[in-house]
Symmetry: C2
Amino acid sequence: MKTFSVGVSAVIPAPRSLLATGEGYVLTEATTVVFTPDDGEVARIATEFAADLRRWTGLAVPVTVPAAATGATGIRIELLPELGLAREGYTLDAAPGGVILRASTAEGLFRGSQTLRQICTDSAIPGVRIADEPRFAWRGTMLDVARHFFSVDDVKRYIDEIAYYKLNVLHLHLSDDQGWRVEIAARPRLAEVGGACEVGGGPGGFYTREEYADLVAHATARYLTVVPEIDMPGHTNAALVAYPEIAPEGYLTEHFTGTEVGFSNFDVANPATDEFVDAVIGELAAMTPGPYLHIGGDEVMKLTPEEFGGFVRRTIATVERHGKVAIGWDEVARAGAPSSTVVQFWRTHPDQDFLAPIREAAARGSKIVMSPGSRTYLDMKYDESTELGQDWAGLISVRHAYEWDPAELLGEVPDGALLGVEAPLWTETVTTLAEIEFMAFPRLTGIAEVGWSAASSRDWDGYRTRLAAHEARWDALGISHGAV
Amino acid sequence: MKTFSVGVSAVIPAPRSLLATGEGYVLTEATTVVFTPDDGEVARIATEFAADLRRWTGLAVPVTVPAAATGATGIRIELLPELGLAREGYTLDAAPGGVILRASTAEGLFRGSQTLRQICTDSAIPGVRIADEPRFAWRGTMLDVARHFFSVDDVKRYIDEIAYYKLNVLHLHLSDDQGWRVEIAARPRLAEVGGACEVGGGPGGFYTREEYADLVAHATARYLTVVPEIDMPGHTNAALVAYPEIAPEGYLTEHFTGTEVGFSNFDVANPATDEFVDAVIGELAAMTPGPYLHIGGDEVMKLTPEEFGGFVRRTIATVERHGKVAIGWDEVARAGAPSSTVVQFWRTHPDQDFLAPIREAAARGSKIVMSPGSRTYLDMKYDESTELGQDWAGLISVRHAYEWDPAELLGEVPDGALLGVEAPLWTETVTTLAEIEFMAFPRLTGIAEVGWSAASSRDWDGYRTRLAAHEARWDALGISHGAV
């Protein structure tokens, strides 16, 4: 099998600094992956990179630690906390005498190993000197598994594909009007009843707790934080079908297979709703090793601002009581969310009505994740000819998804207020892994670069050229993708 | 560093069949660990065994997959589901030409790799042919971290020590009168207030959810299932100190640093108690990947049989609603526990009053774990001269812990009713890892053999001889232990 290398000049996201030095390290039967120190995570990263090298080259690629007796050239993977590199930073030097990947954390080694995967051909690792670290701490994508359900295997494969681009957050939209997708043992009807539906009337589905744990473990092993979202108090029809006792008088409590929004919400005046929320959040928090829990909060149309604000503040307190940091869609900034809450900006245009509360939240200390709909919504069509997808947030070409700066959209916010970027993929029209891939690539690749690479190092023409190598790789591997 | 091999004739627990064949495989600079298939768990087991070989020998011990180009002799680790071996079974063949470890599951490979660790010297793996599998599915030990608290690092080290003897269950007694040891975000005072005490008045402590997850992950990587216990409705003083609203009128709600039992219990008539139990079990179930949750149930002295039975049945239903199998001390067999509940026998003498309800539970379909106090309680003194420990269940010599058969104690029970054996270590007098080790070894080693090895293959004289090699190893490694 071939590596489908993209070549040393086509790494995405662009490294902080990269110098192609010509002649590289030739892979031979003697090539060894040497790691240090001899500990678990470093060994795992070395072992998994060697496994890929084997698949690509057919060589044996033994993995070992430095030993005086072996003078073997090879690929060295070194964890050196004393280097003091940024948490996800790494350095990579490849030359005829060997290859050295160094980082101060195992996470940095993992990110660097993705660069190695991108540049490695089936016969050599080209000569290069790289020093790299990310611009933003949060580089994510959201997958809506509620409008259509996707299997654990499909999501795992998608995780593998996005880890290659150094993304580090997978936000799972686990509930919406059309389906509830994670087992909550304390409220078993959520998954059993609320899960048995999806857009268009398919069978839906849900992750058992074991499957969810398996999915999270797969992501964690790739240094991706899973952020689970239970969208509340709106987008809750599936929950209300399962537990009609927390639906307001007169609301629909039957399965919904359409795509309209705004018609459902919890009965926020009912104490049983708070008990329900506490049970769901408590269990989901305990199942989730990452620090975040997403409470949704978007598009609530039938509650007064007071009703909405009260529910949001109580729910954030519940999340915090269960030991997690709350994150919500940007409506929560207008609902008096405390500064501990992360605000996810999703608006499609820079209307001051939307921007002002978010800027104020940032001024009070809230961190902001940027998901402007008109740049990052992967379910938007590429252009008029795209059959899949929607267009309410605009058409989003590959260039449009790439050519913007998260720091310029909000206007003045304090240094450090921007946590990063995230590209959501809503799935009203998306039903298969191939369709996920088609909408994500190459726009998500661009968002990955927006999040990782320095603004000064980004330009469309250069990116477009690098992208061509990735398109060729996707074609070779059978990964669907859109066209530029 | 040396391997501290116990030698091929001293493996504990004794394998199903073992033939020493003389000349073995000599370790050299060319020795390679070769694994197949090239997948994650097999790679990890191979990588970790190679890391130990390196520590013992100073050799490089590269790890790789079979490749035509390399004719290297070495240690092959092969996952072969088609062999159809028992879940934890394995075969091991070592000869001058090489070593082959085979199993039908990764778990079997892990168990077999412990045998390899036991027999490997710093220069060779002796000639041997082994076919092995366990007698019982449950081979456990319980650690009481409530009477005295033990750090995550101490428990991890203990996990490593017991995995070497193929134990597969670590039961953690997480709550008792003297302390509550795991963070429950929904009831934060349990850990903060209830955790700040221990026998003798020390500071106590607790595991945060992250620490608990870390501990469980460490155990899981060694194919040990963690079974968390919240002892209820008695042994609950620490919980009542934290939440006095669920204490019966007039009960002590202050920290307790003594060792008496039987004075505390929940107010089982208070609906707030059921809410409390639901919140605790829900969160602990969600944090725990293994299938079991232990509800305690022992030594409740102030409730009527009706009050006790009602609470136990409700609590078991709560555990099952949260997706786990309940296990309880054998009192639950008399409380009308359903047949889905595992019953842990702990009595110190074969009184029919105790035995009859357990036999009846077994006849109804309950599985039984055997922890007879007079054989398996690791906190009992070895003999009159032992300073540490207690003697209320009798003195337990190394021979007494070894020379019994779990199948003969209960009398007639259906085939398959015996799930296995478990040795609890209560820690009223035990305060350090060295003291844990001193009480556990070598009696726990004997329980491991009682649980793993065929009854016909066990005899005291042979075991005593094998044990000598393990005692020498413990001495060399600085692991405390008692004397035979």
